[in-house]
């Protein structure tokens, strides 16, 4: 396997916490450049752990992780130049205005004219009108998430790692965020690796899907492939069947 061919490539990625909890176990994940890949699974399945390791926030216990061929453990700073990360329930600094927050975050990547262009793009993505000049402490949860996502999208990183980008948001804000992610992927060719609880969201947004359960990648493929393979009418049914099969295997072992 040539790691450089993939936007994200993990090889036997394992993360065991100091408490003994297994975050993720021997994960082999390949995300192709330009695709939107969704990790789905219940709470505690290892989605956030996987994304945090890829985003260089956590170090793996064993295994390898490469982003565009760059080893994220050995060269995290270089890897971070090629990606950006939106944490779960991402917010922003309350004391700043939306505009100041965008300027601050983007100034860590750009300067000069390129910085001003990136800020303009982020302001356009956020679509908050005059509210962009108001302090973030007055923003709704949806507005905070949109401003954080705008900073991430406007960074034009080759890979976006998005942890539950729409979790806890209302329908309107969720649709807006999904559309922006999709638009960014189509127009710029950015690779997106996201996690979600929301099967409908993943079905709508993702080119390929990986189903994680208790740190194990149980299945992987396009939505249609998974539906056909597991004879499910939708992803929720597919997930339940895969989970059932996982337990059957465990019991028989």
């Amino acid at each position: 396997m040539n790691m450089q061919e993939y936007a994200v490539a993990t090889k036997n990625l394992t993360k065991i916490y100091n408490t003994g909890n297994i975050g993720v176990k021997s994960l082999n994940l390949l995300v192709k450049p330009g695709e939107i890949y969704g990790l789905i699974g219940p709470n505690g399945s290892g989605k956030t752990t996987t994304l945090r390791v890829i985003a260089t926030l956590l170090k793996p216990t064993s295994g390898e992780v490469h982003v565009f061929g760059i080893d994220v453990v050995r060269n995290p700073l270089e890897a971070r130049k090629h990606m950006n990360y939106l944490p779960e329930e991402a917010g922003a600094y309350r004391d700043l205005t939306g505009l100041d927050f965008l300027r601050f975050m983007l100034s860590l990547r750009f300067n000069g004219r390129r910085l001003e262009e990136a800020i303009s793009e982020a302001v356009e993505i956020a679509g908050l009108g005059e509210d962009i000049k108001k302090p973030i402490r007055g923003y709704s949860k949806g507005m905070k998430r949109i401003i954080a996502l705008s900073a991430v999208l406007a960074s034009r990183a080759r890979l976006l790692v998005l942890d539950e980008p729409t979790s806890g948001l209302d329908v309107e804000n969720s649709i807006y965020i999904r559309d922006r992610i999709r638009k960014h992927n189509k127009e710029i060719g950015t690779t997106v690796l996201l996690s979600s609880h929301n099967m409908l969201e993943v079905e709508y947004l993702c080119d390929r899907i990986g189903i994680l359960y208790r740190g194990n990648l149980l299945a992987e493929g396009t939505v249609e492939e998974l539906k056909n393979k597991f004879a499910g009418r939708n992803l929720e049914e597919v997930f339940l069947k895969i989970k059932g099969a996982f337990y059957d295997t465990k019991t028989s072992n």
Partner: protein, 414 residues
């Protein structure tokens, strides 16, 4: 009806917080220890006082003056010794009383009062130790006054209660090798001791602020976004430390200005700045300022470190507040309990930050460059270690997950 469960819930939440309990214990233990040290210091000062000996320079060669000193010496238990020079007297006995040439004529002249001059050797800025020593000067004045009264009453064969003769002792202090009047000494002593406490408070507040600031960033969920940016983590650490130091310097400057104004109001004969510059010189002031800045950097780094390993502001403050207690406790022990000033206490001061400027000032006044160097080096080393530790933490999982303390939730969910 509904108030009781609400109050119970609040009280239980406080009492079940181990960090809160730890803070309470720390206050009890620390201040009890300070009390013990202070009590011991007062006892030592009293013991020293009870064995104090005094050099007497007798400029008045009259028999009357000799008789007065003889009488006073008998009353004082042979603790007065005739000496030739101030230096010799101070070096040998720590205190010198000068009987002036016009002593006898002043006693005889009913319109005059007797004016004596006293020199006290003080080798501490501690108000407890210094005030005990300086109060001995007044006892000495009273001793001479009584000897005069008895001698005059005996000579004139009158009731001693009918004889009045005011005796005024003009007191001067030799602080290490620097000679100053009592007002100047009080200014320096009060200022340095207030400054030590002030620095302790600022250092404590700085740690708490820095810890809370980082923890707030985590609560706002912007922290992980920041960590994922292509900027070296050490830059994030350094920026946070510089930010907290800058804020503290601003607070400190305002406090110092206020303090100097206050003390200049108390001692209007000269401003605090004038006294400090004239008696300590710019070198001592700059060295102390360097020490203060190092203390602020260290405390900021400690705060950043604490904020980095907790999950919210509440826990950040609970863990950072003990730094303030320790800082204030040690400062009090140094300034009021008068811990001995030597290399070991220099190292202790360098590691606990707040007393370091005090020790450096003492070192500067006494000309003990080794003490200054050791204190500054320890402080510098401590600062570097804390910064390096903070940088190390920023590269580890702890920064995201927090640390695990049994019974205290300082970590994020995995």
């Amino acid at each position: 009806m509904t108030l009781r469960p609400l109050i119970e819930r609040e009280v239980k939440a406080i009492l079940k917080n181990p960090a809160f309990i730890l803070s309470l214990l720390l206050i009890l233990v620390l201040y009890n220890a300070i009390g013990q040290i202070t009590s011991s210091a007062i006892k030592t000062a009293n013991e020293t006082l009870s064995t104090n000996e005094v050099g007497i320079i007798l400029k008045d060669p009259s028999d009357f003056a000799k008789r007065i000193i003889h009488l006073a010496n008998q009353t004082a238990g042979n603790r007065l010794h005739i000496v030739e020079s101030i230096d010799f007297g101070l070096n040998t006995y720590g205190m010198v009383l000068i009987i002036p040439e016009d002593f006898t004529s002043s006693v005889r002249d009913t319109s005059k009062y007797v004016q004596l001059e006293a020199y006290t050797k003080v080798e501490t800025l501690s108000p407890i130790q210094a005030s005990k020593k300086l109060s001995f000067v007044n006892l000495l004045g009273e001793l001479i006054r009584k000897a005069i009264v008895i001698s005059v009453a005996t000579e004139q064969r009158v009731d001693p209660t009918l004889v009045t003769k005011p005796v005024i002792v003009e007191s001067r202090v030799r602080l290490y090798e620097k000679l100053m009047n009592i007002e100047e000494f009080s200014t320096i002593s009060q200022f340095t001791n207030l400054v030590v406490l002030l620095i302790a408070v600022i250092i404590g507040v700085n740690s708490v602020n820095a810890a809370q600031f980082v923890a707030t960033e985590k609560v706002e969920k912007a922290f992980e976004m920041l960590l994922a940016q292509p900027t070296p983590r050490r830059n994030i650490v350094i920026a946070k430390i510089i930010g907290s130091t800058f804020a503290s310097l601003l607070i400190g400057a305002v406090y110092f200005f206020g303090l100097s104004s206050m003390l200049s109001g108390i001692f209007p004969s000269s401003t605090v700045a004038e006294v400090l510059y004239s008696k300590l010189g710019t070198g001592g002031i700059y060295m102390s300022l360097l020490s203060i800045v190092l203390g602020l950097i260290s405390s900021g780094a400690l705060g950043v470190l604490i904020g980095s390993i907790v999950s919210d502001e509440r826990i950040a403050s609970t863990l950072a507040f003990p730094i303030m207690f320790v800082s204030m406790g040690v400062a009090l022990a140094f300034s009021y309990a008068s811990l001995p000033i030597n290399i070991y206490t220099g190292i202790l001061a360098g590691m606990t930050l707040s007393p370091a400027p005090y020790i450096i000032l003492e070192g500067f006044i006494s000309g003990n460059t080794m003490l200054i160097a050791i204190t500054l080096l320890t402080e510098l080393l401590f600062t570097v270690v804390v910064i390096v530790l903070a940088m190390y933490v920023y590269e580890r999982d702890i920064i995201v997950l927090g640390i695990k303390i049994k019974g205290l939730r300082v970590r994020e969910r995995e």
